[in-house]
């Protein structure tokens, strides 16, 4: 499995809301972040959840977001970040806006 994104890439999480078992939190959908780690291939949990093989495995990325960009009413420090592990099928390349 070759990873589409490399460390440092700016990525946008797809703003999709299908039913089913997902490992992509609502609060990052549609948001832009930066890849800090390529964690390797893991079987797709969206398929595993229904008793299927989860193959082909998907690259999983560690993505960092500016927390203040995730919640409108966030009152913490401006430099706070939130790190979420996201499967490749949820990520798209994004312009450098972070």
């Amino acid at each position: 499995v070759s990873a589409r994104f490399t460390v440092g890439a700016t990525v946008r999480v797809r703003a999709a809301f299908p039913p089913g078992h997902l490992r992509t939190p609502f609060f990052v959908r549609g948001k832009t972040g930066r890849v800090t780690q390529v964690l390797g291939p893991y079987r797709n949990p969206e398929e595993l959840a229904y008793g299927r093989s989860g193959e082909p495995a998907l690259p999983l990325y560690r993505v960092v977001f500016e927390t203040a960009g995730l919640w409108d009413d966030y009152r913490g420090a401006a430099r706070d970040t939130t790190v979420v592990d996201i499967y490749e099928n949820w990520l798209e390349p994004a312009e450098e806006t972070v």
Binding site: G20, L48, G51, G54, D85
Partner: protein, 147 residues
Amino acid sequence: LTLPRAAADTPAHEQGNERRPRQQPSPAAPPPRHGRPAGRPGRPPKPEDEHDYAPWEKRVDAILRLLADSKRRLISTDELRRGIEELGPGAYDEMSYYERWIASITNNLVEKGVITVDELGRRMAQVAAAWPAGAEAPARPVAERKP
């Protein structure tokens, strides 16, 4: 939470996502909710290993491990989680941690035809009859007792 080893392909970052159950909250404490730390604000979190598990909770844990092991592979971690999500939004407030586990396990096994609703119903009635609510727990599991 240590997930079953048969689900060892679960990314390490996901292990420990779901907290182990803690002791029952005192009446003053709000009930633990999904996605919110169970500790009270301003207090250090309690050690994770403080909770004494009831025998039935240990049994649920063991059942899951056996179902998920490399020999059986009857349920995956993701199937367990999907089953918990499908219990509905009230499940996190109304059911305890291992109640959610056994409910999800049961539904998964019925879906796969490992057990049938009919045999489950009969067995539950059998257990209820042998073990009335409030009665002293039998020293050995019902199935192992001599008639």
